[in-house]
Amino acid sequence: MNNLLIWPVAVPLLSAVLTLLWPRRSTWIGVLGTTLSLLAVVLVSRQVVESGAIELALGGWSPGLGIALRADGLSVLMLLMSTLVSMAVAVYASVYISRSERRSEFWVLWLLLITALHALFLSGDLFNLYVTLELLGLSAVVLACLGGSRESLQAALNYLMLGLLGSMAFLIGVALIYAGYGTLDMAALAAAIESGPTAWVALSLMTGGLLIKSALFPLHFWLPPAHSNAPAPVSAVLSALVVKAALYLILRLWLALFDEVVTQTAALILGLLGGIAVLWGSWAALQAERLKLMAAYSTVAQVGYLFLFLPLLAALPEGTTRDVALGALVLLALTHGFAKSAFFLAAGVIMQRAGHDRIAELGGTARALPVTAFTLALAGVALIGLPPSGSFLAKWQLLSSVFITGQWIWLPVIAVGTLLAGAYTFRLLGYAFAPGEGVGPSLSVGREEIPAVLLALAATLVLGFWASAVWELVPISAYAGGEG
């Protein structure tokens, strides 16, 4: 039943083609295509949970020549997050974008973006990864332009340029690997790569390219304008999913492929950049005057947290403690995916209702839009890392790894970052719950408010109480000699 692996990629791709053929029905096809992709991912996940990592060589070529698809615990978790988030965002967008004339363009690009994401999480060789990364970047850029304003075009252009630079670096790295080892199949490379100049240069280039795409400090500057000026559903997937794709690749490279090459120093440097990102991003979020800009800076900070794990993972001996830390990293990424998409969708609701998203003028939001205000509060809880959110558990394990490895330097970073996140979240909630007329009264709960609150509940309740599944899935690996 390994043929299942084709569906999470094929379904959105076919839907994209259908949307091109029947632009008038684009909303329908878009939502239906997203739903069917969700179904496909669920089937794949069930297969992986039941029988471990699975693999499919397209067209019957042996690995190394054809297109290899692989699914293991990590890819399944990323797939589940992206498909659930994109499902909710699609429902939201069916209301939000229906008012726009560029509806059919949106849905084509949307489905291509999902195709690229799913293919990226399932790819088993480096060249396909490059192709999916490029496709993902391009569809993301065009989606980000759909806002149509001058700022959004400018931001998207910067996004495009830097994205291309990143992919270029990645591609050169891939070429070096091919020259050095004669294969691009990741399972084969995981066994073959040894420490040496080729590996070093390739890893640096590929990581550098991915750092741009994941917006790690100081390469983050393109993110806040690009994410905050895009239409709300686009901002949601950019911050929640697209950034995570680059991070996912870094994890694959560092933990499976180049695990022999990676040194403690290199991990420490990324950790330090992550630490600065946490502090700087949170601080900038606290200063932000607009809701969506605040959310975008908060993404910079949250990406920083994820990089804090790298030096810890490098220092932990292989075994249970390391798996626990890795699980926490994934859980943090997942929680942020759900929480941040909820946050951006809620911001979009406010923006449509109030006509602006200036934080200081949001008085009365809680009365006019109680569900949306509740969404912001829940998402905020997850961003700070308070219980019962998944990020609370992740942060607990992060601190735990800090104590186990004795890398005390991260302790103040995590502490200050948490307090700053508390400050920017409650600054927003203070304004939103204050009396005022910033947002006009509404008569009923809008259909677009529901997906947002469901995402926020997933981040806080579901990932808080049922997070054990993450730790059960993460050790199922298709690389580095696991069960695969």
Partner: protein, 499 residues
């Protein structure tokens, strides 16, 4: 077997479910909301009754749920949990009735009662937490549930008070979490066990001292230990029922209860004394007791005076915990209940003065006893109890604390603190009573809303303070009766010092 698993969960859900349902009720559905509130409170009372009986007969109540590798969500009822659960449940019922009366005709009541129920859920969760991890979870949830209650009025002062509260408590919660994680990595899990677990763990003593400091500072924020008490007087901008709950059961008690848990059931009181950390804690408690009373003396604002009085009184619990010996333990634990019952009476009364006559300041209280005899009677009983005059409950606490100090050989510094504090209590409470009963009205009431009414106040506002005042009197008078707080505190002390 089944009941032992579901009972703790059911106790949590009995306030959580009504809370969630209430959020979705439109403002005007007052009757349904009241029903949900009271039904939840009564069911909880019934369930807690079952729990008390079970724990008294040494039954084990426990539910576990794995949240992450090595992190278990544990609800567990021991004698100490029962003490705090019963207090919260009983006072929640009374406060709910009071709040329904108090908030009549004000906006956002569904939001208020929703968070009110969540706040009680978090408090009860703290009481039932079976390990340090679960305790931290509920400690943070309590912060989240109380913030909207303090900010409820939405006025700039309310928002400011809530912001200050949040600054202190998020900081405290963070330190608590860091301490808890650290301890967790050393021991692999911190279950609450009567008598403590760390004395057998053979860990580095100075590390344990550092962790103790982190935990106690984190908990001390909510318990309002000086110098971490700054939020409490600011939080009195909250509506009266919130202040009542905050000062009697929810927030300050959560901190004090946490300190009790850490010392008795994590470190073990004798081991903590061996580490030398209790002397410092005792000194901080003594300073807090005196400082709070001194500050209370100079406050003209009634609720502020009561707030500083709370700062002082809650540290009696900490003091009792910091002195090694069963009698001091009993004194500290029983004060957990006694202070709650007395202080809630005082805040109900203060709310009534403000509600009926617009009185917010002590200097406006001349002759109020004749106008509002019921409320003033309740206030008087509460105040006399705080001073420690028999037979009101506060006397019992102070008596056992004094005996405990003598037993532990700490009389030389504890007795002067107790005496000085009692004198100060008298100095800031007796003038109020004198003004209320013996002076005649000197100026018109600031805002007389009940002019021309036959009764001083509606039943929902008058009976709660009278009920809690009667409770304060009865648990003092019948302290030796079975199931009284004192008996229960003796039961706990017996189990803590069993080895």
């Amino acid at each position: 077997m089944a009941m032992s698993v579901w009972l703790p969960v059911a106790i949590l859900l009995s306030s959580f479910i009504p809370g969630v349902l209430i959020f979705f009720q439109p403002e005007e559905r007052r009757r349904l909301r009241t029903w949900l509130n009271l039904l939840g409170a009564l069911i909880k009372l019934l369930l807690v009754g079952m729990l008390i009986w079970g724990v008294f007969h040494e039954q084990v109540f426990e539910s576990r749920w794995t949240m992450a590798p090595g992190l278990e969500f544990v609800l567990h009822a021991d004698a100490l949990s029962v003490l705090f659960v019963s207090l919260s449940t009983l006072l929640w019922l009374v406060t709910t009735i009071y709040a329904i009366g108090y908030l009549e005709q004000t906006p956002h009541r569904s939001r208020f009662f929703g968070f009110f129920s969540l706040c009680v859920t978090a408090t009860v969760g703290l009481a039932l937490a079976g390990n340090l991890f679960t305790f931290v979870v509920f400690y943070e949830l309590l912060t989240l549930a109380t913030y909207p209650l303090i900010a409820h009025k939405g006025s700039p002062e309310a928002l400011r008070g809530a912001r200050i509260y949040l600054r202190y408590t998020l900081f405290g919660g963070l330190l608590l979490m860091i301490g808890a994680v650290w301890l967790h990595t050393l021991t692999g899990g911190v279950e609450f066990v009567e008598g403590g677990i760390l004395q057998y763990a053979n860990l580095d003593q100075s590390t344990l001292r550092w962790i103790f400091l982190l935990l106690i500072v984190g908990l001390g924020v909510k318990a309002a230990l000086v110098p971490l008490h700054g939020w409490l007087p600011q939080a009195m901008v909250a509506p009266a029922p919130v202040s009542a709950l905050l000062h009697a059961v929810a927030v300050v008690k959560a901190g004090a209860f946490g300190i009790v848990r850490v010392i008795y059931d994590v470190y073990g009181v004798e081991f903590a004394a061996e580490l030398g950390v209790l002397t410092l804690l005792g000194a901080v408690a003594a300073i807090t007791i005196i400082y709070g009373s001194l500050k209370a003396l100079s406050q003209d604002h009634l609720k502020k005076r009561l707030a500083y009085s709370t700062v002082s009184q809650v540290s009696y619990i900490v003091l009792g915990t910091a002195i090694v010996g069963p009698l001091a333990t009993i004194g500290g634990l029983v004060h957990l209940v006694h202070q709650g019952v007395m202080k809630i009476t005082l805040f109900f009364a203060a709310g009534n003065y403000a509600e009926a006559l617009g009185i917010h300041r002590v200097s406006e209280m001349d002759g109020v006893g004749r106008r509002m005899p019921g409320t003033t009677l309740a206030f008087t009983i509460g105040a006399l109890g705080m001073i420690g005059i028999p037979p009101v409950a506060g006397f019992i606490s102070k008596w056992y604390l004094g005996l405990g100090a003598v037993e532990a050989g700490a009389a030389a510094w504890v007795l002067p603190v107790l005496i000085a504090s009692s004198l100060l209590n008298a100095a800031y409470f007796l003038p109020i009573l004198y003004r209320a009963w013996f002076k005649s009205q000197s100026a018109p009431w600031p805002a007389d809303k009940t002019a021309g009414c036959v009764r001083e106040l509606p039943d929902a506002l008058l009976w709660p303070p009278l009920t809690t005042a009667a409770m304060a009197l009865l648990i003092g008078l019948f302290a030796a009766a079975p199931y009284s707080p004192l008996e229960w505190a003796e039961l706990i002390a017996g189990r803590e010092y069993r080895q």
